[in-house]
Amino acid sequence: MDFDYTDEQKALKDEARRFLADASPIPVVRGVLDNPERGHDEALWSRIAEQGWCGAAIPEAYGGHEIGYVELCGLAEELGRSLAPVPFASSIYQYAEALLAEGSEEQKQELLPAIASGEAIGTIAVSEGPGTVSAKRMTTRYANGTLTGTKLPVADGMAAGKAIVLAMGSDGPVLALTDLSGPGVSRQMVQTVDPTRGAATIVFDNAPAQVLGEGGDGIAALARIHSRSAVLMSFEQLGGADRALEMARDYALERYAFGRPIGSYQAIKHKLADVFIRNEVARASAYYGAWALSTNAEELPVAAAAARIAGCNAYWQAAKENIQTHGGVGFTWEYDCHLHYRRARHLGLALGSAKVWKRKLTDLLEAQRAASQAERQAA
């Protein structure tokens, strides 16, 4: 048992932090915020790609560097902390993981090398409108090798060259792979609460597509993919939450009211202590998720759901209390507090809300309980 980053992993994280401090300072983030049509910062994306981060967990056989999942988690934490405006989450935690977990050998060979090098960007398109997508209410269709329907919002949908799309096939939901620059696809930027991570409405009209891997139940496949993405994204959430807490702490030390730093008032101290506890819960849950992901443990679905819920809670709590601790200036466009408030909600919704994940977690725990009871009865 060992429950921390190794020294080498820590060194990699420190290096990543230094790199991002230089490559992705706040003006870079604001450059996208103030020009939402950009969706992401292309120069930053190229620099990140040059670092080899995109291929950190992708096997060498598919053009990756195969450094490891815990290492990728460390990078995610730093990306979250720096608010980097890049499509890393869509392309790496989601699209690449989808290919790795569910793609056919051919699809992996064909598509992963360009993702690992950062030349290509991919995404996953699930949502269609208000509420959680379900097999019953899904309108996008997959038939005869083509997709028809509308997906909204699709994270990094303008930047991505390819997408994996959840659609209704003849025998139930499937995941279909399509070229977003190909025929039958039209897309348009959509405004979101976090312009530093772009999004699109994508309309498919008989767009050519192929099933991902062997096909099969697309909702179940998506759940397997989401477990992997959730762990990785929980590290971005953790990094952001830690940063938001630091900002609040720093301000509480500098800002005086009634002749003393506001950070000396217990109402502020205890509030920030509560944020710290939420962050520790997120950290512990994320680490456990990283272990499950890196070892492909059977605990992965439960660990991922817990990491997701804890990550959503922590970043939300830290981001909103950071604004509160700042008072009026925290409410301005000029101060950076709102960048975390926006990003916290972007990450909190991008894989489905914490509410949905709570349901999922309890379902999993119940199934586990039933299985262990059956085992006991058999014995």
């Binding site: 921390d4 702490r249 950070g263 920030l272 512990a284 680490y287 456990y288 819920i309 977690l361």
Partner: protein, 408 residues
């Protein structure tokens, strides 16, 4: 990061699981009222268990052999505790002495007289208690008033301690006194170890709101303690307090009790028109929340152990773990009673689920938020030591102790 047992850990776990199953105390042999903690029957069964563990090489696993330990690793100690928990062995008598007090005293004293006590404690022959808190000194743990005055080779003690867990059952105690009231609060304290049957010492049990008498008052009326039982230097008792509290924090990560899975069992046993409480949407969301917090507490415990096993001292994560545990337990018990609906009121060992454990813990959980540092003090610790926020405005700083105002 690795949560799997290594092959060596797995084989150790298998070995101790088998050993515990073969040797564990049989509480069913006791009359039902004697199966509860802090009763003579339960205490004697646990005394026997401690002796069995010592003979088997499973007591104080991390301590060197010459101190009566097993010379084992931190991880082995954790694995053994986990397996004890799985076997539903709950022992509140020896933890204070073996996990908190004796290791702290050892940092200051390794003389023959103290060393003689240690193997006896390991074998369960002697129980230790913590004599720190006083009527005017709880959270303000340096506000000690119990006085120690040097007379020849002895110290004469007068004053009162309170909230001392297990003092009525204890054979020895670690005592903090004030030796110089003219110095500021944290200076002028001195620690001693002493026998609980020393003349002039009187223990009076306190009935807690839970109905048990785990806690006690301890009165000192001209109690004489030889100077050789002083722990650390004169007027340096605060260092002893800090050493003890550090151990306490590390021990908290390992404590156990009813958890989310017990709540699921209870919910599944309560019928509703839709099935069981397990089918209730709001309850399902609650289980997810409880799971996340309580598992995180468990995992934070592992983080603390990882730090210890790398030779680092555990950070204030312990405060976070304690808050998650105490708050989580109280919330959980309140929800358990609510899901039983009106029947939740019934606290009867023959009628209530798990012999009334939920009701008992509903009451007991209030103490959890107070003992070992209150919720508020834990948050102060996090705010000041982790986040580096300023300490409270202190009106007692640098003031000679005898001039500090005291309320009720």
């Amino acid at each position: 990061m690795n949560f799997d047992d290594t092959p060596a850990e797995a084989s150790y776990r298998a070995k101790v699981r088998e050993w515990i199953a073969a040797n564990k105390p049989d509480l069913t042999a006791l009359p039902p009222e004697e199966r509860l903690v802090w009763t003579e029957g339960h205490k004697n069964a646990m005394r026997q268990w401690q002796a069995t563990k010592a003979a088997g090489g499973y007591a104080c696993i991390t301590w060197p052999k010459e101190r009566g330990g097993a010379g084992g690793t931190q991880i082995e100690d954790v694995i053994f505790s986990q397996e004890e928990t799985n076997a539903e062995i709950h022992d509140p008598y020896y933890i204070t002495g073996l996990k908190m007090l004796i290791p702290a005293i050892y940092q200051f004293n390794d003389d023959a007289k103290f060393a003689e006590r240690v193997p006896r404690a390991v074998r369960g022959e002697e129980i230790w208690c913590q004599l720190f808190s006083e009527p005017s000194s709880g959270s303000d743990s340096a506000g000690i008033r119990t006085a120690a005055v040097k007379q020849g080779d002895e110290w004469v003690i007068n004053g009162q301690k309170v909230w001392n867990s297990g003092a009525a059952h204890a054979d020895y105690g670690l005592l903090i006194t004030r030796t110089d009231p003219d110095q500021p609060k944290h200076k002028g304290l001195t620690a001693f170890w002493l026998k609980m049957d020393t003349p002039g010492l009187e223990v009076r049990p306190i009935k807690t709101m839970g109905g048990d008498s785990e806690l006690n008052e301890v009165f000192f009326d001209d109690v004489c303690i030889p100077d050789e039982q002083r722990v650390g230097n004169v007027n340096d008792g605060w260092s002893v307090v800090l050493a003890t509290l550090m151990n306490e924090r590390a021990a908290i990560g390992q404590s156990n009790g009813l958890t989310w899975s017990d709540m699921m069992d209870l919910a599944a046993s309560i019928e509703t028109d839709e099935g069981t409480v397990m089918d209730d949407r709001a309850f399902r969301d609650l289980i997810a929340d409880l799971y996340v917090d309580l598992e995180a507490r468990r995992l934070i415990g592992f983080r603390i152990l990882t730090a210890i096993s790398r030779g680092q001292s555990p950070g204030p994560e312990g405060s976070a773990a304690k808050l998650l545990w105490s708050g989580g337990t109280q919330t959980m018990m309140s929800e358990a009673l609510d899901m039983l609906d009106q029947f939740g009121l019934v606290q009867d060992s023959t009628l209530s689920p798990r012999a009334g454990a939920y009701q008992q813990r509903f009451l007991w959980s209030c103490g959890l938020r107070i003992g070992g540092g209150t919720d508020e003090i834990q948050k102060n610790i996090i705010a000041e030591r982790v986040l580096g926020l300023p300490a409270d405005v202190r009106v007692d700083k640098g003031v000679p102790f005898r001039e500090i105002p005291s309320g009720r």
